[in-house]
């Protein structure tokens, strides 16, 4: 297996301090300029293998979506490199990026916001085809769109309708069709089922899995729904406060979690017939990504934290079973 996408040491920080005037502060009788930066993604290194589904899980605000958007070049990373099939893509101009736009596509979370309400489904789906293949005739574009619409389970006869005339599940199918219509190899799916009804979630998941089988797609699947992740993914990366704390195959991660945060996260999955209250309770809240904790980002809530965890940022280590963990405790054999 070869890596289709490599993320190397990527940081993404957002400046939220506003305009120059907003940045000025008076403290101790002096005028200072102070910037407030949200450190959404810090030092992330990940490989996505061709043909697999890599799921990224974590609670809200941990930087999962930012990671996906940085990969898709909706944001430029502040540091680090992103390589697609060995070619660096994070510093390309938008013109040089264009060929990669047909190979990498994205499916968004909210099917109500991700389709332009003033365009018909046909316009939405034809636009990317025409844009990337200006040579195609009208009939060829039409056929292409009809084919993809059939594949995602939306009757091509409905193409002249507007998005608001469809249900949430159908819209998400259209949104998936928009990604598939340029024949991509890689799709970043940013919580594609989070906004859907539970009964529709399964349909959309099956659609994504069928498309993967037929087209040999690779997914970067962002989710916070752990049972979905267990079902769909080959490997899982667990994120906490902008850092990857554990990366393992789905089977390994769910049966044998190493990182204390993963253990706490998995224990929070509700189980049928399980006893109430046997999950690991973490104390406190997630710290703000504006002032990251020193050392391990999880040390303030970790039951196993010691003095080293507060001081030193843990590096990712590969264990014997292939799991990658960033934890001093696991490294020292304490956990």
């Amino acid at each position: 297996m070869t890596a289709i996408l490599e993320i190397r040491d990527v940081d993404k920080h957002f400046d939220i301090s506003g305009s120059f005037i907003d940045q000025l502060r008076i403290s101790h009788g002096k005028l200072n300029r102070k910037k407030t930066v949200v450190k959404a993604v810090n030092n992330i290194t990940l490989d996505v293998q061709a043909g697999e589904t890599l799921a990224v899980v974590g609670e809200s605000g941990c930087g999962k979506s930012t990671l996906a958007r940085t990969v898709m070049r909706l944001y430029r990373p502040n540091k680090g490199e992103i390589l697609y099939k060995g070619e660096r893509i994070d510093n390309l101009s938008s013109a040089k990026m264009r060929p990669y736009r047909t190979r990498m596509q994205m499916v968004f979370q909210d099917p109500y916001a991700s389709l332009n309400p003033r365009m018909t489904v046909r316009q939405i789906l034809e636009e990317p085809v025409r844009f990337h293949n200006p040579g195609l005739s009208r009939a060829e574009v039409h056929d292409k769109v009809a084919e993809v619409m059939t594949q995602v389970g939306v009757d091509p006869a409905w193409a002249t309708n507007y998005p608001h005339e469809f249900s949430g599940g159908q819209r998400q199918r259209i949104s998936i069709a928009r990604a598939l219509v340029v024949d991509p190899e890689f799709i970043a799916a940013d919580e594609p089922i989070a906004a859907l009804d539970v009964s529709i979630q399964a349909q959309i998941l099956n659609l994504l899995m069928d498309a993967q089988e037929e087209r040999g797609l690779t997914y970067l699947f962002i989710s916070h729904d752990l049972s979905v992740v267990e079902h769909i993914s080959n490997r899982v990366a667990v994120m906490y406060l902008g850092c990857v704390c554990e990366l393992a195959t789905a089977k390994e991660l769910f049966s044998n979690p190493k990182h204390p945060y993963t253990q706490a996260l998995l224990s929070a999955i509700p189980k049928l017939g399980g006893e109430a209250g046997n999950h690991i309770r973490l104390s406190g809240d997630v710290p703000t990504p504006i002032n990251l904790p020193t050392g391990c980002v999880f040390h303030g809530r970790c039951p196993h934290a010691d003095e080293r965890c507060m001081r030193e940022i843990p590096m990712q280590r590969t264990l014997d079973n292939g799991t990658i963990v960033a934890c001093h405790g696991v490294e020292e054999g304490r956990i």
């Binding site: 736009r101 968004f108 002249t160 928009r178």
Partner: protein, 305 residues
């Protein structure tokens, strides 16, 4: 599958319009006024622009139904002997052309500036400060200033020729920030939505995203302010003409007709001022009421008590 016309026929918009008696009445009145204004050369009984047909001896004839009215002049004549009805129709045409022209210019400038400042962050501060400066000049001050300069530069005869485009430019330049601010506010809301990100993931250029994806979604507030702005522009023009800086008396608009008659109102010739006044008020009122309907229709969340 359905044609555009069928969609329109079945639309909620048409249904709501046909069931709103005020809107429907206003629309009919506006349509009649617009038609009679633009068909003035055909339907008006006299041609007020053709000085050979005007006889000074007819001056200040009262409306035909009054004691010594002339049946040839239904609403009487003004101080130069022009038929009031015909002059008002021609004048309304001038007023409407200026109103719509000025709004087109305002909308064009305002939409371009609003889109750019909403979507391109670097330009936002500069463009919005320019808009603030523009707003801090009153329309009339700008108009009086430019109007006075042009009148001196071209002389009275030359001014007649450039009057219409000049007033359009003056009112258009004075009021574009209204549009720019409205469009910018909607663009700021729209650009965060995922369909814009989807368009960026497709690789579309900024210009294309701005014009093809964001702009159509910001047009409903633009439509609402457009109706109000047409009424405002017609009123601004009338006010300018009343001050003597708008349309010349030889090619009067409704505003300059009101001014022209104002001198004679105390000598008993009330009709020269009152009829154009009533027409102006009716025109503005129906446009504003239609604008209200458009606003209520496009923004149903607005509480209508």
């Amino acid at each position: 599958m359905r044609s555009r016309w069928q969609r329109f026929k079945d639309s909620y918009m048409l249904h709501s319009f046909l069931n709103d008696r005020v809107a429907l009445t206003c629309f009919i009145i506006l349509a009649v006024l617009m038609f009679s204004a633009f068909a003035a050369p055909i339907i008006a009984p006299h041609d007020p622009y053709n000085s050979s047909t005007i006889d000074i001896m007819d001056a200040q004839a009262p409306p035909s139904w009054s004691h010594d009215g002339d049946s040839e002049f239904l609403l009487g004549t003004d101080a130069q002997g022009r038929d009031m009805l015909s002059t008002m129709l021609y004048g309304m045409r001038v007023s409407i052309i200026i109103g719509i022209g000025a709004v087109c210019l305002q909308a064009f400038l305002g939409i371009v500036v609003g889109l750019l400042s909403g979507y391109v962050k670097r330009l936002d501060n500069v463009l919005m400060r320019i808009a603030d400066v523009q707003l801090s000049f009153s329309t009339y001050m700008v108009a009086i200033f430019i109007g006075a300069i042009v009148q001196t530069a071209f002389g009275v005869a030359g001014y007649e020729k450039v009057a219409v485009p000049l007033i359009i430019v003056i009112i258009g330049l004075a009021e574009w920030p209204q549009y720019a601010r409205t469009v910018r506010a909607s663009v700021l809301a729209e650009r965060k939505k995922e369909y814009v990100e989807a368009a960026r993931v497709i690789g579309l250029s900024k210009t294309r995203i701005m014009w093809r994806h964001i702009l159509p979604n910001t047009l409903s507030p633009v439509l609402v302010i457009s109706t109000v702005q047409v009424a405002n522009a017609i009123m601004s023009e009338a006010a300018l003409s009343f001050l003597g800086l708008g349309m010349p008396v030889t090619k009067p608009s409704l505003g300059s007709l009101i001014t022209a008659g104002f001198e004679y109102i105390f000598s008993g010739s009330w009709w020269i001022t009152i009829f154009p006044g009533i027409l102006l008020v009716t025109l503005i009122l129906v446009i504003n009421l239609l604008g209200d309907w458009v606003r209520d229709f496009l923004n149903p969340k607005l509480y209508k008590g």
